[in-house]
Every structure is written in structure tokens, then in C-alpha cells.
């Protein structure tokens, strides 16, 4: 036990639980189990690493892992959560230390990849990082002129320019994160074939880059809000939660699509078309009041529609038609949020299952 903690200070991870199985206590054991599960045998920082094929388990110490068995994986995770809940304080410190060590390598990688991506992205372009902001602004201007000035949409909505721009920015995040995430495994196939590292880092690095752009865009929104003197209400405190849902939805789709794209190379074209269609299926340009209520009620069940409308409601104007108003109860949010949660769980399981063969197939 003590020696295990002691080893925590070194870079590599020790997954020895003492020589006798069961010598360590249950929470640490579970933690090691989850570490090795998450590592998926694809992390060079793993000290005691076990890779077993689907034909049988293999073990080092008391750490056992099988591939291709999602239910087992879920059981291990549930066991892990349960063991955290009944953990004593002293063990919790050990647990945190272990988590820190476990995710050290992925974090180092993530950081390096995001920095590289930012250095490379606008290289040799004249305006450089300004494009991060200029692009949505340009799209906004076009849509504003066409739809607001000529077609007179949104005249009834207060602060419609901010309302529109905010929708575009949120939607832009979703599109960028999913479509860039989709190709990333195949694009970095060289890396996958040469070194073993947690594959999810690639997806997260794309998401992180896009998230940084999103943050910059939010500054522009803030600027416009000040310019148009949009009042800030207490409701805005919901915004982080909505963004969390947005990020979870986008990343889980990116995980799912990227793993699927390794096998089906048509997917990027299909996804591009889907995104075009979805742009109109989600109330970005038009106020939801323009749609007959029975259709609006279906459209709003899409998590992206729910997120955008709720976010506009809390940040821009309470005169936004949200899911609560359409169904006259806030509890109907269970459906889009539930969809998001299911997507997160399913995509993580799918990604993990597939990740063993990425190096061969990407």
C-alpha cells in the first residue's frame, strides 16, 4: 500500500497491488482497474500493462482486462463509482494522486497537440488568428443582410443581431467539433501506426482547439451585447450548464463519428450534407414562432435546438421560445438531455471497442 503511494511520485504508473492479490484495498483496486481499462493498453505511460485478446483474460497482479466486452467494462465502471462512494478520506487522497498520475500523459499530449494545432492553423495567412473571429462575423453579416434586411425575419425579436450571431457561433462550434473530429483519426493515421497513446486524446485535442475559438467568439458576443446594451439577467448562470451540454454532445458525436469514419469513408460527405440540412432544422436563422407549433415541438427535441434556444433565452432575451414554453413544462428537457447522455455513453463504449483496431484500419 505504502509503496504503491510512494511510487506515485515517479513518472510511470505502477499498477502493482502488492504481491498478494487483495492486499490492497478495494477502492485502489478499482481505481487501478479503471486506469487499465481507460488506458486500454494504449498508453506508454502505463507501467503494468496487460493486453489480452478476446479469447481470454490475462492478468498482472490483480488487474484483469478483457477486450471487446462492453458489459464487463460497464460493470467495472459501476463498481468503481460505488467504491468511490464508500471511500474513506485517506483513500480519497491516494485516489486523487492516482488519477493525476493516470492522466498525466494524456494531458501532456493534449496540451502539445492543441498548441501545435494553433501554431499551424493560421500559418502563412495574413490576418492569422483574427480569422477565428472574422469568419463567423462574415457569415453573420451575410445572413443578417439576406434574412433580416431583405426577408425581414426576426423583426419581433429584441436584439435580433446578437440573437442571430449567438446562434451562429454555437452552431459553428458544433459543426467544427464534429466535422473536424470526424476526420482526425484517419488524418493522424501516421501517428496511430507509430506510437501507442490514448487515442481519445486526438479527438479531445480537436475539441479543445475548437473550444478556444468558441471562447474567442464569445468575447465578440460580449462586445456586441455591450454595444447594444443587452441587459444581463440572473438567468445567465445557466449558461455554463448549457455549454457543458453542448460540449458533451459535440464531443460524443465526434468520438462516434471518428471511430465510424475509420471503417466507412463515405461518412464525411454524408455528415457534411447532414450539417447543411440540420442548419435549417435548427432554429438559427428564424424565430421558432414562425413554425407551426406541432412541428416546432418536434424540432425542439433535437438537443442542438434545445441548447441554442435555451442559451439565447438566458443570455440574450427572455422572448425566446424555448422547449419549456412549447410544452409548457421545463421537465420535457429530460428528452434532449437524455439523448445527449445516451450519446455520450454509447459513443465512449463504441470508441473504446474500436480503438484497438485503429492502427490497422485507419
Amino acid at each position: 500500500m505504502d509503496s504503491a503511494l510512494h511510487d506515485s511520485s515517479t513518472i510511470d504508473e505502477q499498477a502493482h497491488l502488492g504481491d498478494a492479490p487483495g492486499a490492497a484495498n478495494a477502492s485502489l483496486e478499482a481505481l487501478i482497474l479503471i486506469s487499465s481499462l481507460l488506458a486500454g493498453g494504449d498508453c506508454i505511460a502505463d507501467a503494468a500493462r496487460v493486453r489480452a485478446a478476446s479469447t481470454g483474460p490475462c492478468s498482472v497482479g490483480s488487474c484483469t482486462r478483457q477486450l471487446g466486452q462492453g458489459d464487463r467494462w460497464i460493470r467495472a465502471r459501476l463498481y468503481f463509482v460505488w467504491s468511490i462512494l464508500r471511500t474513506r478520506h485517506r483513500d480519497l487522497t491516494a485516489l486523487i494522486t492516482r488519477i493525476r498520475i493516470r492522466y498525466r500523459y494524456p494531458l501532456i499530449l493534449l496540451r502539445a497537440m492543441v498548441i501545435t494545432d494553433f501554431k499551424l492553423r493560421y500559418q502563412a495567412s495574413l490576418l492569422g488568428y483574427l480569422w477565428t473571429i472574422l469568419r463567423p462575423l462574415a457569415i453573420f453579416s451575410i445572413l443578417y443582410i439576406v434574412f433580416v434586411k431583405f426577408l425581414r425575419l426576426g423583426a419581433s425579436t429584441p436584439y435580433f443581431p446578437v440573437y442571430l450571431l449567438f446562434g451562429i457561433v454555437v452552431w459553428g462550434f458544433f459543426v467544427e467539433a464534429t466535422s473536424q473530429g470526424l476526420t482526425t483519426l484517419v488524418a493522424r493515421a501516421d501517428l496511430l501506426r507509430k506510437i501507442s497513446f490514448p487515442r481519445y486524446v486526438l479527438i479531445l485535442s480537436v475539441a479543445a482547439s475548437v473550444l478556444i475559438s468558441f471562447a474567442l467568439n464569445m468575447l465578440v458576443i460580449a462586445f456586441f451585447m455591450v454595444l447594444m446594451s443587452v441587459p444581463v439577467r440572473v438567468d445567465v448562470l445557466w449558461l455554463p450548464l448549457l455549454f457543458l451540454e453542448l460540449v458533451a454532445l459535440s464531443i460524443s458525436l465526434a468520438f462516434f463519428l471518428s471511430a465510424l469514419y475509420v471503417r466507412f469513408r463515405d461518412l464525411n460527405y454524408i455528415w457534411e450534407v447532414c450539417m447543411q440540412a440540420a442548419f435549417y432544422a435548427v432554429p438559427i436563422l428564424y424565430p421558432l414562432t414562425l413554425i407551426p407549433a406541432r412541428y416546432a415541438r418536434i424540432l425542439i427535441l433535437n438537443p442542438m435546438a434545445q441548447i441554442i434556444q435555451d442559451a439565447r433565452y438566458v443570455l440574450v432575451t427572455p422572448e425566446t421560445e424555448t422547449i419549456s414554453q412549447l410544452y409548457s413544462t421545463p421537465w420535457v428537457r429530460v428528452i434532449p438531455v437524455g439523448i445527449t447522455i445516451v450519446l455520450v455513453v454509447a459513443s465512449v463504449i463504441y470508441f473504446r471497442r474500436q480503438s484497438a483496431s485503429f492502427a490497422e484500419e485507419a
Binding site: G41, R49, V60, L109, T116, Q123, S196, E361
Partner: protein, 393 residues
Amino acid sequence: MAEPMIRVTKVSKDFLLPHLRQTTLKGKVLNMFRTSRTIEVQQALRDISFDVERGEFLGVVGRNGSGKSTLLKILAGIYMPTHGSVAVGGKLVPFIELGVGFNPELTGRENVYLNGALLGFSKSEVDAMYDDIVAFAELEESMDQKLKNYSSGMQVRIAFSVATRAKADVLLIDEVLAVGDAAFQRKCFEHFRALKKSGTTIVFVTHDMDAVREFCDRAILIENCSIVAQGSAEDVAAQYTELFNPQPPATPPAQGKRRGSGAIRYSVVDVPALLRDEGSLSLELEAVAEQDVEEPVYGFLIKNSSGTTVLGTNSILKRQPLSSVSKGERVRLTWSVPNVFSDGLHHVDLTITDRQGLAVYDHWEEAASFTVVKEEKSPYIVTPDTSLVIAKA
């Protein structure tokens, strides 16, 4: 600890042949309606089991395509075994390729940080070792240039310099030593020697039997997807060399380039396919005349695999009496050539010309091939039997 550092248990690896994989939706949909799917499975490894002890330097040898690199990738965790398991009891760093993740658009400095991150070093750790890395690579001046402006030698130097910092219990090396100039290779070998002394466990995949003999405590030989020999480096190296010897390469009836009028042409060419340390090579030839030919001159050339002419002669040079041949006549020739050839593949060119060498009746390039296997490996075009006596005067 008695536990081995690496335990490989009954590992097999199958690859589905990529051209038969359905990687598009269309292919998938079309295939759905087919009752029997034909998926061709290619086995890369079959039932591989071995242990590597702590601090051991294990050589893995085998021919191209025998599965060595697949094994290394499985050890590195890049591929998953189809059956069986691999257990590694420490931190493992693969040297499967130098400079993984290098980006030509970034500067040398930025690439050092990126490559360091892939090896598990945080920014502050790379900060601390940065000067050493640059000094080791001897590239102080060019670190702020983009990598694309580096020569390939410089890139390798900087990559190797970062890689040597990796602290590992187990190191996997895949012939990275093949790159770089002699001085750089020496540097690599010195580094590996130092690592071995410090107790690092090393798995080394190579074709270089001298390196196996010099460094490895033990070696395994992989042939046709499975281990055919394991034991001392010396024994395995000898068996590896033997792999190339016993079977004469199947020489298909040589169809080299052939020109000439054909008035008289070779009809039978009999050359042994394999020449060991025998004293001489004999070329048994027969030529048939399609027309009357006055005083034909028979010649041959022997070239090595790089196309350099090793030797050659003809019947005039040998001062053989020239006799005319009339239509339908056959001529038998037997050349006996001392075996001065160097190890490797050789080709025989055969000619028949007129006395002046102006009219070419038959000029047959690569009419036959033979392989020479000699104890003495020399890089020169001939390896005659030389002897040496060393004595103190």
C-alpha cells in the same frame, strides 16, 4: 523479482486483407445482400510465446515479411493480438520510428517539445533537458529554423537526441540504426551499450547479424509467422544465415534480353543455380546453326547483381581455332571458370559474333543466373581464395 519483464503468451495476429475490406458504405450495403462473404485472412504471427527477463538484450531476427515488425508493434501496444496476451512489467518506449509526430512546418525547437510530449515529457521537463538535447544533436545554430529546412541527417539527429532522453524500463528498437551515417550509427550503438549496462531491457529487431552477436544476450528467429529458433545470439545468427543458404533460389528459365540475327544461336544453357565454395563454375552450352556461319566467336560475360562486369572472355581471346559451322550443325561448349566470385547473385551474358565482332548472331543478356554463397563476405566484386599467415617476426 522473478517475474519476466515481458511475457508473450501464445500470440497470434491475423490481418484482414485490406483490398477486400469494405470501407465504403456502398460496399457495405452491396455486401449485405451477399450470402457468403469472402474475407481473406492473412496470418502475420502464429502462436508466439517467449519471455524477456529483466535487463536482457533480446534480438529478434527473421526475413522480410516474417512478422518481426508486427510482433514489435504488438509489444508496443499499437496492434492488438488476435489471440494470446502480452504482459509488460514496466514503462515501455518504442523506437519504431524516430521523430514520431515531427511536423515540417514547425521549428526545430517546437518539434523537440512536440516529440518530447509524445514520449511523455511535460513542458517543464523538456525545458530542463533542452540544452542537452540540442548539444547532443550538435544543432545549436539551427533550432529556430523550420524543420523542413533541415537535412534528413539533421532531422534524424534531433529526433534521436530527444529519444535518448526517454526513461524506459523496456526499449523496443526497430532497425532505426539503419539510418544515418557511420558516425551517427556509432553514437547509437554507444547509447544502447550504455543502456544495456544500466539494466534496461531491450528488444531489438534487425537484419544485422554482427549487431546481434555483439549486443544480444539471446535471440529469437521468426520464419513464416512463428518462432523457429531461440537461444544464444551466436546460434540464432548462424541459423539465420543458414536460412538463406540451403535453398537455391528458384531460377526461372531466364528470359533476358536477346538480340542478334539468329544465324547461330544458343539452344541449351546449363549453369548451376548455386555455387558454394567449389573451385569452379562450369557453363555447359550448346548452339545450333540456322544457316551456314563462317568462323563464329563464342563469348560470355559474368555480371554481379549491381550490374558490374566481374569477368568475361571469348573464344578468340582463348586462342581457340575458329571453325565454320554449316546449317543444322550443333556446337557444344564447356566453359570452366574459377570461382572467384563474391557472395551474391550473378548473371551470365552469352554472345556469338563474327570474327570482327561486327555481325551479332546471338547476344543474350542474363541468359542464366547463379547465386554464390561464400563464408567470406566481401563488398568487392571478386573474392578469390586468399590466405593469410600472421606470425610475430
